[in-house]
């Protein structure tokens, strides 16, 4: 059997032993072939090399040596054995280890769930044992001579293709599809329409269809939605989120940031609370009145206390990251940055519009209240946003 690492000498080699003779060393090197170029003419040689065919088969240790084969057999059996042990271990771990037990494992710390760890490791072993056993078996003991399968062009025989065309066209002809166009169009129409009831049923009932975007225009600051969909503005107090307590201006010291909701929001049932929060969340900050660049921002506030919608005008994440010295508000989702001193204009990132400001003042009892609801829809842009 030929050894591929020591190939049989090529026919076109200068010397049949494959060794270079002294003459080879003294050849004229000046007419070397270009690496990229073509050699002009083939000199009677074929255009391409010939496929030498499959290299000679290399027998494995286990093919030649029965001892090696027995060793491989034992290894495979051991792997399957590991799997069995793993499975048994899993059962033990499942029944013996309580779910709340914690353990230490080097590198993982001391809070590892014993149950999770042991179940995972034993389950892993139980599976890996089978897998490794099967593969090792295939590699060492199953035949490793490659088989060769012929390929045939994917396209069907011409006859079959022709026949197919005949059958289809003939069938259509026999059914009268071509002779009776009325049937063709009637069937087409029926088939084209039959799915509509299902589509309409689903699409029509998924959500509100009557200008749902109207609902994006209002927040809980406008007042609670009545049964007829109207809202009455009642100058709600600003309350702490989640403590639900009203805020006095003197409590908001410079540098403070209060997360705020409209009073009454926390009285909603938990489900409506979330929907209301998704639009009504507000961040209250106090700056030195001299820090404002925008007159309007200061005027809509109260002694340097300003309230802005916390819902990002990009895609609606809460913009809660307030830097008290730079007066920047950063959205953690896509890094839109708003300048509080300049009426929350966007100074960086993918948002376009400033955060809407909530005009605030104090009520008779000295608590901060909304002087008017948001003047524009809060949150992300939508098609009909400007159409109010």
């Amino acid at each position: 059997m030929a050894d591929p690492t020591n190939p049989t000498p090529d026919a076109d080699r200068p010397d049949s032993a494959g060794e270079y003779t002294e003459a080879d060393y003294t050849r004229d090197l000046s007419t070397a072939v270009s690496l990229d170029g073509d050699v002009v003419g083939t000199g009677g040689l074929p255009e391409r090399f010939e496929d030498p065919g499959l290299p000679p088969h290399q027998p494995r240790m286990s093919d030649l040596d029965e001892a090696a084969a027995t060793r491989a057999e034992r290894q495979v059996a051991t792997l399957f054995g590991i799997s069995i042990i793993g499975t048994l271990g899993f059962l033990v771990a499942y029944f013996a280890v309580p779910v709340e037990s914690r353990m230490f494992f080097p590198g993982l710390g001391s809070t590892v769930s014993t149950s999770n760890f042991l179940l995972g490791v034993t389950m892993g072993l139980s599976l890996l044992g089978i897998g490794a056993g099967a593969v090792h078996w295939a590699k060492t003991l199953m035949p490793d001579e490659e088989a060769v399968e012929e390929r045939h062009p994917m396209r069907s025989e011409e006859d079959d293709r022709a026949q197919f065309g005949e059958i289809m066209l003939g069938g259509a002809e026999d059914a009268g599809l071509t002779r009776r166009p009325l049937l063709k169009y009637a069937m087409g129409g029926a088939l084209g329409l039959f799915a509509l009831p299902m589509v309409v049923q689903v699409v029509g009932s998924l959500g509100p269809l009557d200008r749902p975007w109207r609902r994006l225009e209002h927040t809980f600051w406008d007042g609670e939605e009545g049964p007829d969909g109207t809202r009455e503005f009642t100058r709600p107090r600003l309350v702490r989120d989640p403590q639900n307590t009203p805020i006095r201006p003197e409590e908001v010291t410079i540098g403070s940031a209060y997360h705020v909701q409209p009073e009454g929001l926390f009285d909603l049932d938990p489900h409506h609370q979330l929907e209301a929060k998704a639009k009504a969340s507000v961040l209250l900050m106090r700056l030195h009145p001299d820090d404002f660049v925008s007159e309007k921002a200061r005027d809509w506030g109260y002694e340097g206390i300003v309230a802005y919608s916390k819902i990002c005008t990009h895609v609606g994440c809460p913009v809660g990251l307030y830097e008290q010295h730079t007066h920047h508000l950063l959205c953690p989702c896509h890094q839109s940055t708003f300048d509080v001193t300049d009426d929350c204009k966007v100074i960086f990132g993918p948002a376009k519009r400033p955060l809407p400001q909530l005009k605030i003042t104090v009520d008779d009892e000295g608590y901060l209240v909304a002087d008017q609801p948001f003047e524009e829809p809060v949150g992300p842009s939508y098609w009909e946003r400007e159409r109010r």
């Binding site: 072939v33 490659e146 916390k310 939508y382």
Partner: protein, 577 residues
């Protein structure tokens, strides 16, 4: 079908091969009873025999698709387990499970049941972690499998259809992943849904209608989790599994591709039969993939939903990332500048959001799916290809692929800009600006570098064929010159390096006909010719026997050593150009 290689029936090449043994007729053996009973009723023996005797080539890169397939199966198995405990409801409840920091907190039943699975159900955490790790590994391996198919040209005729199916599978996989990621209703996944609502709102004309339909009313409403649940456990898996069966069936129908090599032709498949070798290997591999995933789940925690707390639209967490397969889209959102939003006639267009989400996501997968047809148009090659390209032998395609991966990666990294900033102590603003430039420049740079590397490797291959392998033996000639002896490649090794096809760039036909009229489709042809030049002008051709003979004749069996020799024979390579 054309003969791309000088093929001989490879099976007949080796005299010492054992003939493939057919099972003796009528000897079904011990199983005869059952197997016979089934066959009496199904006539299955012939078909099953065909399948059992099918040949699959063996190569690690052909297992990438299998990793994906097995990860999907692991997801299906563990997912079924999770449905027994998970409550897909946004109804609010007060948590009273064993995770102390959330006791007494109002949360959705979906979130509470996920906490129960994680803390109170034995093995629940493990299955949840296997499910999530397997989902990540599914999409990781699927992506790498796609890269393998792309770079080796396995998408060419007759496999374009299967490539398209694979692309649809990849897209479905990420939709399925996103739906699953959203189900626990924790703060992180809820934020993801919040962003999704923002994306949908930007759809012109019907955006708000879709958003309200999807969420069944105001965000977050009470419907999205049950609806995503139906999609996640029923709708998408059904399509996914159906398409994936078609995908695998098509692999069997087309017969697997193989890497070029001695004895491997466009007309055969060289490998192992399903019974017993491939069945043992592929079957065993399922257990290996499952077992490794279980071990990963034992050692590494994934998606600790309990730290996030229940979803609340007024709260958010720093480091808000989706799972990795959505990064490129989310990253694009972070890079897009806000000023491109505009209003016309009172209608708002938000390309700053739409481009990165509702446009980019389908666009990427459409471009991927269309690539085989584009390349086929450029090459005009209508042959069937069952022999794979070595990536270096298709330098431009490899470059284009690497450029695409680079662009994707830059977008994906942009999505973790805050994590990179905090880990490397950099400014998030600088990083974002860098990524904004890099997403355009880096792909071009990487294309150029990759193509150069490929051409370099091809030249190296040529050199190896022409000049043989360095033996390390230095020989002194009688004149006192030193040479290293080179040994010719053995024909098997050489065949691997010379058995590839090259294309000639398409010649442009005159744009005007004999009468001076502009020919129909001339513009399209010009584009095609330009692309063809882009792909094939500077390609390197395989060594021909004549070139090898010339090299031997010209004494390239060895190479001069030392500077002196080189000076004496300057430019020995390419000297006759």
């Amino acid at each position: 079908m054309s003969e791309t290689t000088a093929s001989r029936p490879a099976a007949a090449l080796r005299a010492d091969d054992k003939p493939i043994e057919r099972a003796p007729q009528g000897a079904v053996g011990k199983l005869g009873g059952v197997a016979g009973w089934v066959d009496d009723r199904t006539r299955a023996a012939k078909g099953v025999n065909y399948l059992l005797r099918k040949v699959f080539p063996d190569h690690w890169s052909f297992m990438l698709g299998e990793i994906a397939m097995y990860s999907l199966i692991v997801c299906l198995l563990t997912g079924a387990f999770l449905t027994f405990w998970f409550v897909p409801s946004m109804g609010q409840t007060v948590y009273d499970g064993s995770y102390i920091p959330l006791q007494g907190v109002v949360m959705s039943e979906a979130y509470a049941s996920t906490l129960d699975i994680s803390f109170d159900i034995k093995g629940g955490l493990l299955i949840r972690q296997i499910h999530h790790w397997a989902a990540l590994m599914f999409i990781v391996s699927l992506s790498v499998h796609m890269m393998r198919v792309f770079f080796t040209g396995a998408f060419r005729k007759p496999r374009e259809l299967n490539w398209v199916i694979g692309t649809v599978l990849a897209l479905l996989a990420i939709v399925e992943g996103f739906a699953g990621y959203s189900l626990p209703d924790d703060l992180l996944s809820g934020t993801g849904l919040r962003a999704m609502q923002g994306f949908i709102l930007t759809v012109p004309v019907i955006g708000s209608y879709i958003a309200y339909a999807l969420f069944g009313g105001d965000f977050p409403g009470e419907m999205i989790i049950p609806r995503l649940y139906a999609a996640h456990v029923l709708l998408i898996p059904a399509i996914l599994v159906g398409l994936f069966i078609v995908h695998v069936t098509m692999v069997a129908v087309n017969k697997h591709t193989q890497y070029p090599g001695p004895g491997k032709t466009n007309d055969n498949v060289v490998g192992y039969r399903v019974m017993p070798v491939y069945a043992a290997k592929a079957g065993g591999f399922f257990f290996l993939v499952f077992g490794l995933t279980a071990l990963i789940a034992a050692f590494a925690q994934i998606n600790a939903i309990w730290v996030h707390g229940p979803y609340d639209p007024s709260a958010v967490t720093a480091g808000a990332q989706p799972d990795w397969y959505m990064w490129f889209s989310d990253g694009a959102l972070r890079l897009l500048p806000g000023w491109i939003e505009f209003t016309v006639f009172g209608f708002t267009f938000s390309p700053n959001i739409a481009i990165g989400s509702i446009i980019l996501l389908p666009l990427v997968y459409t471009v991927l799916g269309a690539y085989p047809f584009v390349e086929r148009w450029i090459t005009g090659d209508d042959r069937e290809h069952h022999l794979l390209d070595r990536p270096r032998n298709a330098p431009t395609r490899t470059g284009v692929g690497m450029a695409a991966i680079t662009g994707y990666t830059v977008l994906a990294l942009a999505c973790v800009n805050d994590i990179i900033a905090i880990k490397l102590g950099m400014s998030i603003n600088d990083l974002t600006r860098f990524f904004r430039v890099a997403v355009f420049l880096l792909p071009i740079l990487v294309f150029w570098i990759t193509k150069r590397i490929c051409l370099g490797l091809q030249r190296h291959d040529r050199e190896l064929v022409l000049h043989g392998r360095e033996t390390g033996t230095v020989i002194r000639t009688p004149e006192g010159r030193f040479f290293e002896r080179h040994e010719d490649l053995d024909p098997y090794t050489r065949w691997r390096l010379v058995s590839f096809d090259t294309y000639r760039p398409i010649e442009l036909e005159p744009a005007t006909d004999a009468n001076g009229l502009v020919r129909k489709g001339a513009r399209k042809d010009r584009l095609r010719a330009a692309l063809s030049r882009f792909y094939f002008t500077d390609q390197i051709h395989p060594v021909t026997p004549a070139e090898l003979a010339a090299a031997h004749h010209d004494g390239h069996g060895h190479e001069a050593l030392e500077g002196a020799a080189e000076e004496e024979y300057p430019e020995q390579i390419g000297a006759d150009r």
